[in-house]
Amino acid sequence: MSDASPILRISALTKTFDDFTALHGVDLDVAEGEFLAIVGPSGSGKTTLIRLLVGMDDPTDGAIWLRDQRIDVIPANKRPTCMVFQSLALFPHRTVGQNIEFPLKLRGVKPAVRKERALELLDLLRLPRDYYSKRIQQCSGGEKQRVALARALAFDPEILFFDEPLSALDYRLRKTLEKELKDLHRRTGKTFIYITHSLEEAMVMSDRIAIMRAGRFEQIAPAEEIYARPVSPFVAEFMGEVNFLSLSAGTVAGAELSPAAQAALAGQSGTLVIRPESLRLAPQSADLILSGTVAAEYLLGSRVQYRIDSPAGELTVEVLREDAVAGVGAPVSLGCDISAVHAIAEAEDAAA
């Protein structure tokens, strides 16, 4: 998103620890009001990045701009940003109300005004008002999440950062809170930057996803685009199950190509990416046709997944239950349309 005036601009940000480089000069623009998710496996540099952004660590090189102000040179407590920590970092020696009021207390806001604001935030986060005088220890996991959010909102930051705050919760609660967070983003209109290792979480909530790998951004784009057109096999795999076929000079080993497919792939070399749900079993007509035998069959509720041994390698196919045909050991043909195939050129592949 090359917005005319991004709220946050990161340029050539680098962080080196002794002899290890955690961030290799990354660039990023974030638009005002955007919900950006930064996703990557552990050790990809996402935590390092967020710690630089909030000021817990100093960058080795590069700059961070908040609108027209360069913020990497000012200390964490002077930055107009706030973070919800992975551990939530709620003060155990303070009540729910005192936790929410904390940033206001630091600014010298009068107790009555502080309390008014804290109660408003309890309403906003859909917590009962009598939680104001509750102990943190008396709150459930989900309630603690909401208190941490309320406290961050009391700070009224320009940008709200999240460091995997949902990772310690069970699946159902996480799903509920993901939706609430998305809803809160819409209602407050604030800029959210959310770090997670869970792509699923990122896809549910964010406007754009930045995928990190080994201290660099691999791809920054809306979820659908990353899913449909990954720039590298790493991104493709990170976005869920995927089949890779080797493409060399316009031909795919072990596959038959229709004239349309031949024209589309003419002269290209690299990797073909095909999602399991794009492949069809025993197709009437297809641009790319493969054959093989069923090696395994898995029931996934309304869908069935097959693992198929083929001359082109091991393939994964996912079809609707009513389209399931073959059993284990049966020979099958499978295929897909050229529109469902994404080619990653060799150069990009090598760069990744």
Binding site: F85, S87, A89, H93, P103, L106, R151
Partner: protein, 266 residues
């Protein structure tokens, strides 16, 4: 698992035996303190509490109490401060010499106190300082401050560094982080370190023996009177010493209870 009647009877007897072993000597000193006799002897023929009146009226005993109290009081406060700062260095902040510091700070605890006392006396003499209750404070601190540091460190290890970072992120200055987060969270540890410091200093004999010079603390006086010139005041003063410790433990328990009522942590 069900215990048979025999086993539970044996357990009960064992428990009583242990308690008797621990507390009977103390009870007998208590009984001796209310004996009318001039010499330590059992069974006690006649009881009275005259020795308590005499002890409290005696200048010697008053002086002993005052010196012991001064030493223990100053050691307590100093240990709390040193323990708090030491625990931050020990457990919270990573710095270059943290590992050696963690090991060296514990070393005095492993020295036999008599050796430590002797070593300190030699240094006090070498520096030309006249030993008194003031030098005993230093000696006590050498041994007690590391223990206080350890006690506060246990607390410091168990607290999430993100709490301080979060406070800072929300706009707190270094001083505000200390006042709003670090000090309140470490306070229970600091209070128990203070309690231990007082008890260890109040009852300390070997370090005091070497370093008080002409002054005398309660334990020193008790020992001196036992080896030469027994006085019927000995068990009485002994019981007064125990009462001092007991009062402090009671105070500590009340304080812990009050802290828990005011704001339950963890």
């Amino acid at each position: 698992m069900k215990t048979s009647r025999l086993a539970s009877a044996a357990l009960l007897a064992y428990g009583i035996l242990i308690l008797a072993f621990l507390y009977l000597p103390l009870v007998s000193v208590g009984l001796a303190s209310v004996s009318k006799a001039r010499y330590l002897s059992f069974p006690i023929r006649k009881y009275n509490t005259d020795w308590y009146g005499e002890a409290l009226a005696s200048d010697t005993v008053q002086n002993l109490l005052w010196i012991s109290l001064k030493v223990a009081g100053i050691v307590t406060v100093s240990s709390m401060v040193v323990g708090f700062l030491g625990a931050l260095a020990f457990a919270r902040y990573s710095w270059r010499f943290r590992k050696p510091f963690q090991k060296l700070i514990l070393l005095p605890i492993f020295f036999p106190q008599t050796v430590l006392g002797l070593a300190l006396l030699m240094w006090i003499n070498a520096l030309g300082i006249v030993p008194s209750w003031k030098t005993a404070i230093i000696a006590h601190l050498v041994w007690i401050a590391p223990i206080a540091t350890l006690i506060v460190s246990i607390r410091a290890f168990s607290f999430d560094p993100a709490l301080e970072e979060a406070a800072r992120d929300m706009g707190a200055t270094q001083w505000q982080v200390l006042r709003e987060v670090t000090i309140p969270l470490l306070m229970p540890g600091v209070v128990s370190a203070g309690l231990f410091a007082f008890l260890l200093s109040w009852g300390n004999f070997p370090l005091s023996l070497f370093t008080t010079g002409a002054d005398s603390t309660l334990p020193e006086w008790l020992f001196a009177k036992m080896i030469s010139g027994y006085s019927p005041l000995v068990p009485t003063v002994g019981m007064l010493t125990v009462a001092g410790s007991a009062a402090l433990v009671a105070l500590g328990l009340i304080l812990a209870w009050a802290l828990k009522r005011l704001r339950p942590t963890t």
